[in-house]
């Protein structure tokens, strides 16, 4: 994670998912495979990345709003840095082009 990403994340960027049809999911025993049609790239995802993609849609949301959706659907491991982790994961997914990011 570069300094720049942290700097950007303080400007409350918003994120949204691409079309659901862009993604082909396949569960393995310990991880989740994701084939991303627009890039032709296969990604292997560990928690909580698949859950993030699951709760997102075409609505632009802040990391905080996504965290709320996540907590509504999952028992999120309690911890003070949950929001930071979600921001970091969203930046990671955005850098791979799996979700869209717009500066706040």
């Amino acid at each position: 994670m570069s300094d720049q990403n942290f700097r950007q994340s303080t400007m409350t960027p918003k994120y949204r998912a691409g079309p659901k049809d862009d993604l082909i999911w396949h569960g393995l025993d310990s991880m989740t495979l994701l084939f991303h049609r627009p890039s032709g790239i296969t990604h292997m995802l560990a928690d909580p990345a698949p859950a993030l993609l699951e709760v997102m849609d075409s609505t632009l949301l802040t990391a905080g709003e996504i965290a709320t959706r996540l907590q509504a659907r999952f028992d999120v491991e309690p911890g003070a840095d949950t929001d930071d982790i979600i921001s970091a994961r969203l930046e990671e997914l955005a850098a791979l082009g799996l979700i869209a990011r717009e500066a706040g």
Binding site: P38, I41, A95
Partner: protein
């Protein structure tokens, strides 16, 4: 054994001509088409022609490979768009990526390697730093090459993405700064056409003239048959869409100082691919046209490069074109002193 690439040119021009080929000739045609990076274009051209089963399978493989190349090229362009989201200027896609992004026939089955984009020269530093921030890195560690690029070339030294292993060439004009003609880069940016996703492609006349500049000025006519095939398809498409096209092309060629190159490209395209060019735009046939055609077809039925002498002559000439004599001597000297063979 086939001794030149004419069989490929004829297959592209008249697909029905392949119906007479025997098994050995098919193997030769396929090797030549692969060597000239035209196998994907050939596969699409022959889609409706009856061909033997094994040939159909080979052509289908080529179509599959180029579908993937097309998808990857569009994705790479999108990655660049996202990396440059904060950049207010125009980002103009070039060459193969532009043809597929604009849905042109020239993009169908075309092989696409690096991503080529053009931006305003003054903006190079901010574009460069945005790309470096987004995961691209320099390919060449060599300071001589780096300075050479920055001082004399029409592009930044190539960058490669550290995760995706894909190269990007960032241009600020369409010819090296040292080449004879000095195209009007600002005019190209001004007339560039928005694609709707934040990226641009060149206006029709500029797109054709860039393809022509690329054919003659970049390298030693390597890949020339493919570049000329692009030009053929672009000319056919734009001249059918707009009856003023030939006039506009002539005017624009003058703006960019590419009048002679345009005339020669039109003659070569008409000669090899039967392009219906407007006769008065193509100038007079010259003896050199014959040498160009000999060079373009220099490939045998095993896919080997042939006619070494004429190839070498074009290689030297390509450097001559790109650099004034004194600089050429310095360039070759530096390269020679470093013990390497001269590299394009």
């Amino acid at each position: 054994m086939i001794s030149d690439a004419h069989i490929l040119v004829r297959a592209l021009r008249e697909p029905a001509s392949v119906e007479r080929l025997d098994g050995g000739q098919w193997s030769e045609l396929i090797s030549i088409a692969r060597a000239e990076s035209l196998i994907g274009s050939l596969a699409h051209r022959l889609a409706d022609v009856p061909v033997p089963d094994r040939v159909r399978a080979v052509l289908q493989d080529a179509i599959g490979a180029h579908d993937l190349a097309r998808q990857q090229a569009l994705w790479e362009a999108d990655c660049a768009r996202r990396a440059l989201a904060g950049y207010p200027g125009k980002i103009v896609l070039m060459k193969g990526t532009a043809y597929v992004a604009a849905n042109l026939a020239a993009g169908v089955g075309r092989s696409i390697g690096d991503l080529d984009i053009m931006v305003a020269r003054d903006d190079l530093p901010i574009v460069e730093s945005a790309l470096l921030d987004a995961g691209w890195e320099w390919v060449k560690p060599d300071p001589y090459d780096d300075r050479y690029y920055r001082d004399h070339m029409h592009e930044l030294p190539p960058l490669i993405h550290r995760e995706r292993d894909r190269m990007i060439d960032v241009h600020h004009t369409i010819l090296p700064l040292t080449a004879g003609p000095t195209p009007d880069a600002q005019a190209i940016l001004d007339s560039a056409i928005a694609l709707g996703n934040g990226l641009y492609v060149m206006a029709p006349t500029d797109m054709v003239l860039h393809s022509i500049a690329h054919l003659f000025a970049d390298g030693d006519l390597a890949g020339g048959l493919r570049n000329l095939w692009d030009i053929n398809l672009l000319l056919r498409h734009f001249s059918e869409a707009d009856e003023e096209f030939w006039t506009e092309l002539d005017v624009r060629a003058k703006t960019h100082g590419l009048g002679r190159e345009k005339e020669r490209a039109l003659r070569l395209a008409a000669r090899l691919y039967d392009t219906p060019v407007y006769r008065f735009s193509a100038g007079q046939t010259e003896f050199a046209d014959y040498l160009y055609i000999r060079r373009l077809l220099a490939r045998d039925g095993y896919g080997r490069e042939t006619r070494k002498l004429i190839r070498f002559a074009f290689y030297v000439r390509s450097h001559w074109l790109r650099m004034p004599p004194l600089m050429l001597a310095r360039h070759l000297w530096t390269k020679w002193r470093k013990g390497g063979k001269p590299v394009g």
